[in-house]
Symmetry: C3
Subunit: 342 residues, 3 copies
């Protein structure tokens, strides 16, 4: 999946982004497409924020994709939304390399598997018994797909992914390298000071259009399923414990940890390093600020914006943090005015 740059002209770019107008020589060749930090001779660049206008005008850029016409001799491609044009050009100028759906001779496939014709198995991929993999899916080098796993269509496992037995993965899912799906939940019974393992007999079910970052861990349920809903996006190094449910289109940013049996609603955003304890119920459309902590059994109603550890409403937490910075003057005022020593 290496990245190829397609050299092209300003005219082709204007067409690709549905530009409303183009100023200057439309046949200008675009030598590369880059951010404002890396402009070189012949670059095309998007002006998304006016504060960078001067930087771009004074640069070696040949072509500017922008919302408003500027006073410059450079080629200008006028669009409604430069940010969207930027995203379009990422794919247009750096298209995906076509995939050859072949099975490496070193890929190992177990018994009674149902693997669609158009599936790519990379070198040393290991597929267990009774697994199913749908059309258009790719299993990366050294990835391991356990017994009885079901993977949908157009799903990509990058290298060194481990999917434990019985996991169910939907369509159009992307799982990045090093991620582990379906390891045992962390459950023990205390007996004479020692912990006896509680068997973890459930599985993990992942919906469609999910993306899971690198070195993530999502544990199988004790019984039943740990569920990742359709459209969920999970960043790197996130932990989702057994029997959690993450609702559709929710976003878990890097290093979030969610403890056992917690339910996250739909379209929630948990910012980086947030920790949510066990048996919480987080409503739909909840946003939780970075590094916040949610204690066991907490219920958060839909639509709330929370922060702090333990969390309170964002507005309150911001005040708390402001007051916290004033603690010194508060102590001094009380000591002086009241003649006490705190």
């Amino acid at each position: 999946m290496s990245i190829l740059f397609t050299q092209t002209t300003a005219a082709a770019v204007a067409k690709a982004v549905g530009a409303r107008e183009i100023f200057g020589d439309a046949s200008t060749v675009i030598k590369n497409f880059c951010g404002i930090d890396e402009i070189s001779e012949g670059s095309a660049v998007c002006l998304e924020d006016k504060k960078y206008a001067e930087l771009i005008l004074n640069s070696a850029a040949a072509v500017i994709i922008t919302a408003e016409k500027m006073d410059t001799g450079k080629v200008q491609i006028l669009v409604e939304k430069p940010k969207e044009a930027f995203i379009t050009l990422l794919s247009f100028l750096y298209p995906d390399k076509p995939v050859a759906y072949t099975r490496a001779p070193t890929a190992v496939v177990g018994k009674d598997c149902s693997i669609a014709a158009k599936v790519k198995l990379d070198a040393y991929a290991v597929i267990g018994d009774s697994a199913a993999i749908g059309e258009g899916s790719i299993i990366g080098a050294h990835s391991v797909v356990g017994d009885n796993v079901s993977i949908g269509r157009n799903t990509v496992l990058f290298p060194n992914v481990t999917v434990y037995a019985d996991t169910v993965i939907g369509d159009n899912v992307i799982i990045h390298a090093g991620t582990v799906i379906g390891a045992d939940g962390f459950g023990y019974r205390l007996e004479d000071g020692r912990r006896e393992k509680i068997p973890q007999r459930g599985n993990v079910r992942i919906g469609n259009n999910v993306e899971i970052g690198a070195n993530v861990t999502i544990d199988r349920a004790t019984l039943g399923s740990t569920v990742i809903g359709n459209g969920v996006k999970i960043d790197n190094l996130v932990q989702v414990a057994h029997n959690c449910r993450v609702g559709e289109n929710s976003v878990l940013i890097a290093q979030v940890g969610i403890a056992g049996s917690t339910t996250i609603g739909k379209s929630c955003i948990l910012a980086g390093q947030v920790g949510i304890s066990d048996h919480c119920v987080i409503g739909d459309n909840v946003i939780i600020g970075a590094q916040a902590g949610v204690m066991s059994n907490t219920k958060i109603p839909p639509g709330k914006f929370m922060w702090g550890s333990p969390v309170q409403e964002m507005k309150e937490e911001k005040l708390t943090k402001i007051y916290l910075r004033k603690l010194g003057s508060l102590v001094r005022a009380v000591e002086e005015k009241l003649g006490v020593k705190i």
Copy 2:
């Protein structure tokens, strides 16, 4: 290791859990065993908390494992402790699939190894030179066992585990996928603004009956050993630095990080995302609440229950957090009554 359900009868279940009585048709077939969220026709379900009684009684469940007889036509299996019956039934109804102790032809074994007869080496397992693996152990697909590693009996490495050279692992240990044991400790010497690596020449020693989650990292000692005691349970994404010692039966919950040369006593519990700095000494039976932080060189006496960052006793930290929420009214009271502006 996929999960098989063993269809059986209420009578067999009652026997398995040592029920004191059974009401209703003991020959009733149990079609599945599940939590209260997933009851379907013919389910057996444990009533562990009375608040779910009505939900279960009104469900399609065929069999209820419960502590007290209820007024219902469903089959009831009466036990002392439904929670323990639940755990027993996880294994009884979903037994471990028998393991075939075979060596995959693609497994690579180095020179001078001592591998017991009944050891399973999965596809592409790589064993270094002079390694020893005891009876009943399993090395998962793509797992790498370094030179001179010693692994005891009945120990399981899931796929994609990396065990660096010289590591010693005991009996009945479980290591989940993606975990890395024995990487170099993070040690440098500052020299003219650059950091020179301090050689890391020790190892990691892991006791018996330890379970280590997925994508955990436990670093080798600079000299001597990083030690994980018998019965320790480590959740996913935990970091244990060089020269740490974790005492017997302690529990490290997900995303805990422990810095170099820190000693954790026996039977401690470190909750999720706790960070412990270097050279701390944590006594036996200490519990540290989620997201807490322990500063360098801190000593915590045995039996303490700590929280906060930096930690103080749980009781105090709870008060601190309560007062913190009152800061606004405190500031307002002082401003009003004392005529000052904080």
Copy 3:
């Protein structure tokens, strides 16, 4: 890479550390070299801190490396800096095992690669198309090097590392097991409540003399490069998001997370579990204390020592934390003296 102990004499050790004097029998055989916790008959041990003098004098140690002569019959090797002698002896007494630069027959190499003659490819290493690997480098078992990746000289990838396509890695770099370099940055565009993936078309560039711990994740840039400067040291389980730049010789301690487009200056130290949000600019020589949090778009001038969440200057944060512990007495004083209920 297992560790071998080279049995030798006190005289040889004295020479290796450039000792200024040796007392006692220089021909004494050193049976092992260890920390103060593991002294046995014939051990050599460094006395780095006087408080351990008595412990060592009363131990079975045969040889002491120390700064000042003591009153003992043991062999004493006098040096200026025992800590540096300790580091020297780690390599002298436990030398690196010589590496055989061979290519395992099971290593898979793609088309159009440029792999130097003296490169070690371990079992099942997978190298993509058009990759380049310089003289003296080692690719560990099961590591995957993507298409078009460039790896310099004397660089070591431990097992189970994944390097995505287009990554550039310098000379003398060490990457520990399970680490993932170049996975897609976490970028989506919200559209009708669903998140559409923003293509991630940049790469990761890693300088020379970098060490990266186990299970780290460093994401590729959306466009351009995520950059890890020369001499940077990264501990285990760290997350570096897309388009970040980490300046030369900076240190990221375990479980640090850095969000997208943040720039870290040169020679910074981010302590364990620090979280830095997106688009921050951290100046050179900044130190950030453990578990601290830096909010989006924060700029920190060079040389600052910061702590807290959100960060403030260390001095202020320490005061805040001290006052926080006094909140109870503050509330009580105000309630008593002012007759109010907080």
